[in-house]
């Protein structure tokens, strides 16, 4: 594979180890890229919508994941192709930014690529296509703004939020009890939300899972759970009105950072050292006791002796609590994390109404619940389920629902789901295309066709006739000039999404269109692929 030749036909060596690399260029490269992108989209296409199917993924180590979440599927697929990796990135960035719609964005990008392929075959330059797509996406986003509706909710009226979360959850395996889960998610988000600043810190919501029980047992705890138990088996298992000392120093003699040696050369020294040590332990425990703490939570371990002293002074303690949890506990209980015993003061103690240890199942599984905290901002969603995969999938679904609720608090505009927004955009873009002079017209029209692919996939997955259903809904939208008609996936009988209460967030939809267009533009601009050939 040579790039350039001199006048005698000998190749110039430009690339390192040139003959070991393969190279694709021009139309061939674009087509190869498009087909790779399409292949990824095809995998996800069947998991779209409430009747979408799941994928089973086996990791390199043999662990099984069953999921419906686009971002997770792509991440676990371990793809090898560069373009496919771009698609993975695409869905990941949707996940980071919005949290939901990760499947839709990839399906959309796949459809755009497919349309681009047809246009390329007709000899339209890729840059023109890309520009046409850009224009069309802008139109679509504007149109979404136009059809979006604001809706009001408050701490007392959470129904609209619950409905939106239910739309998100309905495509997951947990749709059996989507209502309670949606309520849990909304309540969790609202309790940590800063409604004035319109911001939600999702870090304050901890999602914990434990196998066993059933999905219906999932609960929202206004407090924190820690997967730890009391350091001494005979400490009390339940503490009312706990005052919590949150420590990041171990119950051990100090280890100064500077290197030093304590030399023992006489019997006296040996004995004083010993007494010092004993006094040290005693002091530490006494300090905790003096400030009035009734529970000690420590990031490090304790020595056996310290453990017993704590027990002795009737001071329950928890050891080896992770940094993140420690921080959450501090936030929830309004305490301060104390790095040294000397700095322990009564004001720095956290407060919680009830701390209790709860055991599960037949094995010695125990968890610590810290409830009725001084500052109820931190909450925990505690998931139960039949098996590990179920819990993992529920965690992902709850995460999506939380993100949706957060997005709504940030921006309370919604569009209707079930493909209705896409169909409406497609009609608008199609109409605009005819007015546009120039080659881009074709690209804009192709964009409109690509928008149709999401409702089409929805219909297909729901076992409906895709083309028939789509054209019926489209004509209905134009005839009645109502952008709320979508695909009736659950066979409810009406395809007015407003009646079915199927909502999606406006920013989620807009982000989907923008991200998909961007990635497709990037892929279209590539005309040369150089890769090390495998041998």
């Amino acid at each position: 594979m040579a790039l350039a030749f001199d006048e005698y036909g000998r190749p110039f060596i430009i690339l390192k180890e040139q003959d070991q690399k393969t190279r694709l260029r021009g139309l061939e490269a674009q087509k190869a890229n498009i087909s790779a992108g399409k292949a990824v989209a095809r995998i996800l296409r069947t998991s779209l919508g409430p009747k979408g199917m799941d994928k089973m993924l086996q990791s390199p180590d043999g662990d099984v994941t069953i999921t419906n979440d686009g971002a997770t599927i792509l991440e676990q697929m371990d793809v090898d192709n560069q373009i496919a990796k771009l698609m993975v990135e695409l869905s990941r960035s949707q996940d980071y930014e919005i949290g939901d719609g990760t499947t839709g964005v990839v399906v959309m990008a796949g459809a755009l690529l497919e349309q681009a392929e047809h246009l390329l075959e007709r000899g339209i330059h890729p840059i023109r296509i890309a520009e046409g797509y850009e224009m069309a996406s802008r139109m679509a986003v504007e149109h979404l703004d136009h059809i979006a509706q604001k809706f009001d909710f408050g701490p007392t009226n959470i129904e609209p939020l619950v409905q939106t979360c239910m739309t998100t959850l309905s495509s997951k395996i947990v749709n059996r009890c989507k209502r309670p889960l949606a309520e849990i998610s909304v309540k969790a988000v609202l309790s940590v939300a800063d409604l004035e600043r319109k911001d939600v810190n999702l870090d304050l919501i901890k999602v914990e899972g434990k196998v066993g029980g059933k999905l219906e047992d999932t609960e929202l705890i206004y407090g924190i759970t820690v997967d730890k138990d009391m350091s001494h088996p005979q400490m009390p298992k339940q503490i009312q009105d706990a005052k919590i000392a949150i420590l990041t120093c171990p119950f051990e003699p100090p280890k100064p950072k500077t290197k030093h040696k304590v030399d023992i050369d006489t019997v006296e020294k040996f004995q004083t050292l010993r007494q010092q040590e004993q006094k040290y332990f005693d002091d530490m425990v006494q300090k905790c006791k003096d400030v009035g703490a009734t529970l000690v939570i420590c990031q490090w371990g304790f020595d056996d002796e310290a453990n017993h002293l704590l027990m002795h002074r009737n001071l329950p303690a928890v050891r080896w609590v992770g940094g993140v949890e420690l921080e959450l506990i501090a936030i929830a209980t309004g305490g301060r994390i104390v790095p040294r015993f000397q700095e322990l003061t009564p004001e720095k103690l956290g407060r919680a109404g009830l701390v209790r240890e709860k055991s599960f199942g037949t094995t010695k599984d125990k968890m610590l619940y810290i409830e009725h905290c001084a500052n109820s901002r931190a909450v925990t969603i505690f998931i139960r389920g039949g098996n590990k995969m179920m819990i993992e999938e529920t965690k992902r679904s709850i995460h999506d629902a939380l993100c949706v609720a957060r997005n709504l608090i940030r921006n309370n505009s919604i569009v209707y789901g079930g493909g209705s927004a896409e169909i409406s955009c497609s009609i608008a873009v199609e109409a605009a295309a005819d007015k546009y002079p120039g080659v881009e017209q074709y690209a804009i029209r192709a964009f409109a066709d690509a928008l149709d692919s999401v409702p089409m996939a929805l219909a297909e997955n729901s076992g409906l006739q895709p083309i028939e259903t789509l054209s019926a809904v489209k004509s209905q939208q134009i005839k009645e000039n109502n952008p709320h008609f979508g695909i009736d996936c659950n066979d409810v009988g009406t395809n007015d999404m407003r009646e079915q209460n199927v909502f999606e967030t406006l920013i989620g939809k807009q982000q989907q269109i923008l991200l998909a267009t961007q990635v497709v533009k990037m892929i279209l601009k590539i005309d040369d692929v150089i890769s090390p050939s495998d041998y």
């Binding site: 993924l57 099984v64 023992i264």
Partner: protein, 527 residues
């Protein structure tokens, strides 16, 4: 142009029908594997490990069998996982849950072949599961109020659970053991408090429950072998050499005499510690860590029984039974709670000497000593007893009880059938299939017992047509019998867990339409 390859070399991808096929085949294979262990006449499996020594396990316990298998099929892994969870959560029914999930998938396979969409099957299954659960809820018996009756319920449950295990010969004996042990826990589910000691020799009938506590340790040399009215200090402290815990401390001396001095000081320190311990006014000292010869000798001189190196669980249990606390410092003897027991003595079980604490204050913990012909028998007996203990402790918390012997399945199947008749649409096929899967369990129980399953199940079905019927399969006589009279009971919690997690797992597998297997991680050490 050929479709670009997007996955790595060794990775594989199966789609649509083929993916579904692969998961059905895997799940059904697993089901068939454990199916024969179900029921009182179920057979055992021998498992040989590939590790060093090729250890052999003989077992009837579904979770143990599945845990030991190396499976590559992802769907099969889901089933193994649910059985493991069942084991952790309720302890019994580990085989039933896998068999039910497998039967549900087997039925689903037929429906898929008849061109019914998996999503329709799932929604049918969900309705059926809900209906089946309600049917069970209506028929539960709750004897919480009546302690006498409740105890007999527990007894029946224990016997039912044990009847499918190796202990079935002496099930009454063991059921009594298990019930007694669980009743001592007084509602706690912490099975750690029940210690099971296995000693080969004797027969299974020689196993016994000890009221007190048995520690698998020897008494130090020259110390009393028998102590009455013992005062016990349970400790977790270093009795070898007390390290100086201040960081960076080290001994640096310039002459031999100094070494001797420091050694002396160290000894003195230990002597003081021992003195302090003895000052608690004890005559028995149990430590989790090692006790070196020197302090041991000191204890012996003071006539104190010193037991070293008890395991952590042992210490906890001992503290629990004697009512003492686990101590690590000994400066304030007046406030340390000391455990008491009437008698400590060395006893012999088989060839081994054990220390027996009897007449303990708090009766929460107890010890079950299992005797049996070989290690394999003992291991299996322990697993069986563990199952029984788990079920019982769960039943103490959730006192609802059902009849056994295929009765709950038939009750559920009947209700589900009713539902199927009332439901319009394709879902009704799925609901019907659910009921067939439920009936498969009594069928397998009968088959395993070598009975004419078709005939028996038909009879059962007819019998269940009447309201309030207690009919189930009586494996012993090989006919349909009254389960209430035969005293075959099961815990509602176990049945519910079986039903729900089997449905959940089946649903999960059905929803899959694509399997992507990543390239296995390369291991360097393997040639």
């Amino acid at each position: 142009m050929a479709i670009e390859k997007i996955l790595k070399d060794d990775a594989s991808e199966e789609k649509g029908e083929r993916a579904r096929m692969a998961s059905f085949v895997g799940a059904i294979a697993i089901t068939d594997l454990v199916k024969t262990t179900l029921g009182p006449k179920g057979m055992d499996k021998i498992l040989q490990s590939t590790g060093r020594g090729h250890g052999v396990t003989v077992t009837n316990d579904g979770a143990t069998i599945l845990k030991s298998l190396h499976i590559d099929n992802p769907a099969a892994k889901v089933l193994i996982d649910i059985s493991k969870v069942q084991d952790d959560e309720v302890g019994d029914g580990t085989t039933s849950v896998v068999v039910l999930a497998g039967e549900l998938l087997r039925e689903a396979e037929k429906l898929v072949a008849a061109k019914i969409h998996p999503m329709t099957i799932i929604s049918g299954y969900r309705m059926a599961a809900e209906c089946a659960r309600n049917a069970l809820l209506q028929r539960v018996v709750d004897n919480k109020e009546n302690a006498e009756k409740f105890k007999s319920d527990l007894m029946k449950i224990a016997m039912t659970t044990l009847s499918s295990k190796i202990l079935s010969q002496d099930k009454e004996h063991f059921a009594q053991l298990a019930v007694d042990a669980v009743m001592r826990l007084k509602g706690s589910t912490n099975l750690e408090a029940i210690q099971i000691i296995k000693k080969p020799g004797g027969s299974l009938m020689d196993s016994f429950l000890d009221e007190g506590f048995i520690l698998d340790k020897k008494i130090g040399l020259g110390q009393p072998k028998r102590i009455e009215n013992a005062k016990i200090l349970v400790a977790n402290t270093a009795m070898d050499t007390d390290k100086v815990k201040i960081y960076g401390a080290r001994v640096r001396v310039d002459s031999m005499s100094k070494v001797a001095e420091i050694e002396g000081a160290e000894k003195e320190k230990m002597r003081e510690k021992v003195q302090k311990i003895i000052a608690h006014g004890i005559n028995c000292f149990v430590n989790r860590q090692l006790i070196y010869n020197f302090p041991e000798e000191l204890f012996a001189d003071a006539g104190v029984l010193a037991i070293e190196h008890a395991d952590f669980d042992g210490i906890e249990r001992l503290a629990l039974v004697t009512g003492g606390e686990i101590a690590s410092t000994f400066d304030n003897p007046e406030s340390v709670k000391i455990g008491h027991c009437k008698l400590i003595e060395e006893i012999m079980i088989g060839e081994d000497k054990l220390i027996h604490f009897s007449g303990v204050e708090m009766g929460q913990a107890c010890t079950i000593v299992l005797r049996g012909a070989s290690h394999h028998v003992l291991d299996e007996a322990e697993r069986s007893l563990h199952d029984a203990l788990c079920v019982l402790s769960q039943t103490v918390n959730d006192t609802r009880v059902l009849l056994g012997g295929g009765w709950p399945e038939m009750v559920m199947a009947k209700e589900v059938d009713e539902l199927a008749r009332k439901t319009p649409g394709k879902k009704s096929h799925a609901i019907e299939a659910f009921s067939r899967a439920l009936v498969a369990i009594p069928t397998i129980i009968a088959d395993n017992a070598g009975l004419d399953s078709a005939d028996l199940v038909a009879q059962l079905r007819a019998a269940h047509h009447k309201e309030g019927c207690n009919a189930g399969i009586d494996v012993i006589s090989g006919s349909v019998g009254d389960m209430a009279e035969l005293g075959i009971s099961e815990s509602f919690k176990v049945k519910q867990a079986v039903l729900l997690s089997a449905t959940e797992a089946a649903e999960m597998i059905l929803r899959v339409d694509e399997i992507i297997t990543c390239a296995p991680r390369q291991r360097e050490d393997r040639m």
